[in-house]
Structure formats: C-alpha cells, structure tokens
Symmetry: C2
Subunit: 214 residues, 2 copies
C-alpha cells in the first residue's frame, strides 16, 4: 500500500512537472508571437492550451483515484490535496499565456506592443520565464531555496509592471488609449502568471515544512 | 459513519454559502465605494477580505479532516473535492472585489470612474450582484436551472464589457489614458468575478449530474 501510494504520488508530481514545462513553453511562445505579430505562433499557443488543461484533468483523475483507493491521512493527505492546488495554479498560468497570445491575435497584422514598450514587456517575459523554470525545478526537486527565491522574482515582476505603467501614463506616451489599455492588460497577465507561480511555490514550501508562508 | 459524513458535508456546504454571501456583499460595497469615492467604505472591503479567506481556510480544514476521518469514495469523494474547487473560485471572487476597492482608493479623493462610465460600470456591478446572489442560491439549494442561468448572466457581463471598451476606445473619450486603463482593468475585475461564479456553478452542475458542462 505504502509503496503504491509513493508510486501514485510520484506520477502526480511528474504530471505537475510536465504542466510547469508546458506553461513555460506556452508563455515563451506567446511572448515571441506578441512581439513579432506572428499569427500562426499565437494560434499554436491558443490551440495548445487544451493540452495543458488535459494534463490538469489527468492530475485531478489521479488524485481522486489515489484518495479513493488509498485513503491517505495526515501529511500524505496534505501532499495529495496540495498537488491539486498546485495544478490549479499551473492551469491558470496556461490560461494567462493564452491571453497573451490572444492579445497578439487581436491586433494582427499590427504589433500589439509599440516598439518603445518592447523592452519592458520583453523583460517581464524574461522574469516570467525564469519563474516558470524555477517552479519546474522546485516541483521536480522540492528545492526550498529556489522556492523562496520566487518571492524575489515576483518583486522584480512588480517593479517591471510599475515601469510599464510609468511609460503608458507618462507625458511622452504617443500611442493613444487602445495601445495603453492593451499594454496595461498584458502587464497584468505577466504579473498574474508570476503570482500563480509564487503561489505554487508556497504550496511546495508548505508541503515540505508544514509551515504556511502566506 | 454515513450520517457523520452527511453532517460534515452539510457543514462544508454551509461555509461555502457564507463565502458566497460574503463575496456578494464585498463586491456590492466595493462598487458603492468606487462610484462615490468613499475611502472608508473601500478600506472596509479590503480589510474584510481576510474574513473571506478565513472562511476558505475553514473549508479546507474541514475537507482535509473529512477525507482523513471518513475516506469517502465515488460520488461522495467527488463532492468533497468539488467543494474545494468551489471554495477556490469564491475566494478569488473576494480578491476581485478587493481589487475594485483598491482601484477606488488609488484615485481617492478623485472618483476612479468618470461620470459617463458610471452607468455601464453600475450595470456590470448589477450583473455581478445578480450572479453572486444566484450562486449563493445554487449552493444552498443545488438548483440546476439557476446554475444554468449563470451562463446567460455571464453573456450579459461580456456584452457590458464590450460596451465599456467601445466607450473608452471611441472617438468621444475625453478622460485620457489613465482613466481608460483604470476602466479597462475594472471591467476585467467584474468580468473575472462573473467567470469564477459561472465556474462554481458548473462545479455544482457536475456534482449533481455527474456531467461536465465545460
């Protein structure tokens, strides 16, 4: 029983790592499509979100089966339920990558991001990528130091979002209301993506230490 | 055992109904504060989000205890796990009400919403209130007809969000970039609030019928 439980939980963990890899790839591809007005690239991201959702459904199925067949208690039970929470955060990260791709599609053949914002949006995407890479490692290895770093990465993201706002609300903004609204929403998508990764990291910390970081 | 399970599950359901009532009150109060630039009102909404989160933690605790002590299977297990998903959606609705309140605070003593948008924002708030009232009833009574209505209410919300965009991106917009960005983000908060309620409604439908509406 015990060994079966470990094997099942390992499988759930493996699925979560695949989800993390997939949402990282999705956001990377969405950003590339966004900054280069690549219609096909953006459409691929939108289409592939269903794959991420499918992995999440496998996580849910496995968790339900695990609970029904093995009736875990105490820390085992906590681990299983926490996996579900992590899956929810990762699924949402996939949705946010899809939102970025859809922003690209909405302005095609134009570029949704004016050239002067490409730098800061690119930096937000870099932080998002770093964060997604880290949560993948944290899930694979339960590396608490890396998990704790996510909070700092999130501060970087918040700082970049502030820079973005300074640009679009500043006196030199020449791209009008629509581009500003697009940029503000895009900023929010990257920032929410990071938040969900930090949340997932907190769940891992809670799993390992039993202490909530919230 | 069986009776104990029913009693525990009833208690979880009762907590979810309280959460739904609380997030409805929160969004109502946040909207009032937003449209009237009421600083204290907005601060109260922000402060009370902790209470909503606390109810969610009670839901999580109860669910964990229920799983550990009673090891439910099949449809009982599904009900327990679905309660957790519904709690997650409601918790997020509370966060979104808090975001609306924070938008009000950010522009205080100004009014974050220009007078010409007060109508459409007020209508979005009305739909949000209708939706939150409905999800409260659906959780209390498992009324599937009401749950199904949520999809239509959500269409109303999407239509209002389009109207909001038409205004802020139209040729008559005279309030500049900042007010447009504020309004776009506010529109998104109401729209996401409705989405989460619809999601919670789908979970109830799935619970009762075993069929996913997604």
């Amino acid at each position: 029983m015990r060994e079966e439980f470990r094997a099942d939980l390992y499988e759930v963990g493996r699925l979560l790592v695949s989800m993390a890899e997939a949402v990282r790839t999705a956001m990377g591809a969405a950003t590339t499509a966004l900054l280069s007005a690549d219609k096909e690239g953006a459409e691929r991201v939108v289409a592939r979100d269903a794959e991420i959702n499918a992995i999440f459904h496998s996580v849910e199925d496995k968790v339900l089966r695990l609970l029904a067949q093995q009736a875990p208690v105490a820390s085992d039970l906590r681990m299983v339920i926490t996996s579900l929470h992590i899956g929810t955060d990762l699924e949402r990260m996939g949705d946010l990558a899809e939102h970025v791709a859809k922003s690209a599609l909405r302005r095609y053949p134009g570029v949704a991001v004016p050239a002067e914002l490409a730098g800061v949006v690119g930096q937000m995407a870099n932080v998002a990528d770093r964060i997604a890479g880290k949560i993948t490692l944290v899930l694979a290895s339960r590396d608490l130091e890396r998990a704790a770093e996510l909070e700092r990465d999130d501060d970087d993201m918040d700082e970049l979002e502030r820079q973005l706002y300074t640009r679009i609300l500043g006196p030199d903004w020449k791209h009008g209301v629509e581009a500003a609204v697009d940029a503000a929403l895009l900023g929010r998508f990257y920032e929410r993506y990071a938040d969900h990764a930090v949340n997932a990291g907190r769940h891992v910390i809670y799993l390992v230490t039993g202490e909530s970081e919230k």
